[in-house]
Symmetry: C2
Subunit: 258 residues, 2 copies
């Protein structure tokens, strides 16, 4: 059974996971980051040792969680102790095959959420997607995550990649739409909070309704007159105008070409 | 003081407003729709008379609310009784000048929300944006809306148009992103509910954080390798691929060109 965890990476995901595992009773042995400051920040909250050199990591742990940028995973794998301990990464877009021929016991633990260091999160609702090289390691992973969330799904690497792509649409692109909306209001000195209930209801709606049914607005109504008014309002902002045009057409294609 | 309300239009907005005003103690005198069925549906919930001919509307009311499509507002104005009663429309993109030289007492009542007939809404949080031809009519409008929501703002027609444009970004385009995300999951037989907490957190986040700060994902990190993986995953879906490319570049332009 896993009791001791080493966290490699002190970015948004590493920070949140370390802290949550610590709070759930696990021993965070060491936290690695190239940045001494970042490692120290996580170590402080988890009574872990801060480490800035991968070769100095102790083998005295039960699991290594690699929560670094996708490009850095392979280099981490080449440097950490080959101790036969379970090694997992947290990347949506990196297939499990990255471990092959490098380590013996491995897996993936992908939490579908947007992590910002400064924002506390309710882990109990976060879905975790896991994959492992053996039934035994899958069980180990499942057991560890169970103390964080009851939503644990087994997926293969292709499905996980799909989840990551979906997350880009549902989170990253959505946040960009919020940013553009707030720009528009700022230009008119309208307080941005007025968008709150609309953003909330749009999010609530899609949890209960098919988004095709939930779609409202001029594009789906093919209300050319309103779209023209909006485009002419955006006339001096070619940047937003282009996106308005593009996404409106995308909506219309999706709704009318079927 | 306004006690009797006539609602012209039985679409999403007309339906919700009539019902809410009725529940708040107002008398809904008549509900007009070209469609007998739609008029009857709203009338049933508000003990109003259903009317399908604008010329038959009674003058015995205190306020007409025009909640029809933008293109139909002018035609409605030309047909309803010229009784000197307060006439308002609910359109984000139609300037108040549409009333000029047609009626004497007028205004606009624009609720910033996405309305679907079948979804109940908490009106108490909805911001209402009002405009009127006189201080007196503005006061009247304010008084009526106060029984629905405490969030009442006075804006001019240009600001209201900006609000509508912002709503397209924050709601209509956002919902389209949800739709695309759900498509991607459906293709992999992954239950769509797993996106719920991510969608929720993304919406929550932006109510407290600047969306520029809240932006996460491969585009803002300029993580070309992950974006390439996503684009190659979407290879067979040129439609989504194009949007993925376009919005990613839009995010990068916004974050790196300043």
């Amino acid at each position: 059974m896993i009791q001791n965890i080493t966290c490699i990476g002190a970015g948004n995901v590493g920070t949140h996971l370390s802290k949550k595992f610590y709070q759930s009773g696990y021993n965070i042995v060491e936290v690695y980051s190239r940045s001494e400051e970042k490692a120290a920040a996580v170590a402080k909250n988890t009574t872990a040792r801060a480490v800035t050199n991968l070769h100095h990591l102790t083998e005295d742990t039960d699991m290594y969680i690699i929560a670094v940028s996708d490009q850095a995973i392979e280099s981490v794998l080449n440097q950490i102790p080959q101790s036969g301990k379970l090694i997992v990464h947290t990347s949506g877009s990196t297939p499990i095959t990255i471990f092959q021929d490098k380590v013996t016991d491995y897996g993936v633990l992908y939490p579908l959420q947007t992590f910002s260091k400064e924002r506390p999160l309710d882990f109990s609702t976060i879905p975790f997607f896991i994959e492992a090289n053996s039934r035994e390691n899958e069980q180990k992973l499942r057991q560890v995550i169970q103390s964080l969330s009851e939503y644990i799904y087994h997926v293969n690497s292709e499905q996980r990649l799909a989840l990551h792509v979906a997350a880009v649409f549902a989170c990253n692109f959505t946040n960009h739409m919020y940013a553009l909306a707030k720009d528009v209001l700022a230009q008119q000195s309208i307080p941005q909070e007025v968008l709150g209930p609309l953003i909330q209801e749009t999010a609530d709606k899609v949890r209960e309704m098919d988004p095709l049914q939930a779609q409202t607005g001029p594009a789906v109504r093919n209300d050319q007159i309103t779209m023209e008014k909006h485009l002419s309002y955006l006339e001096s902002d070619a940047f937003k105008k282009k996106l308005y045009n593009f996404v409106s057409q995308h909506i219309q294609n999706r709704h009318y070409s079927k």
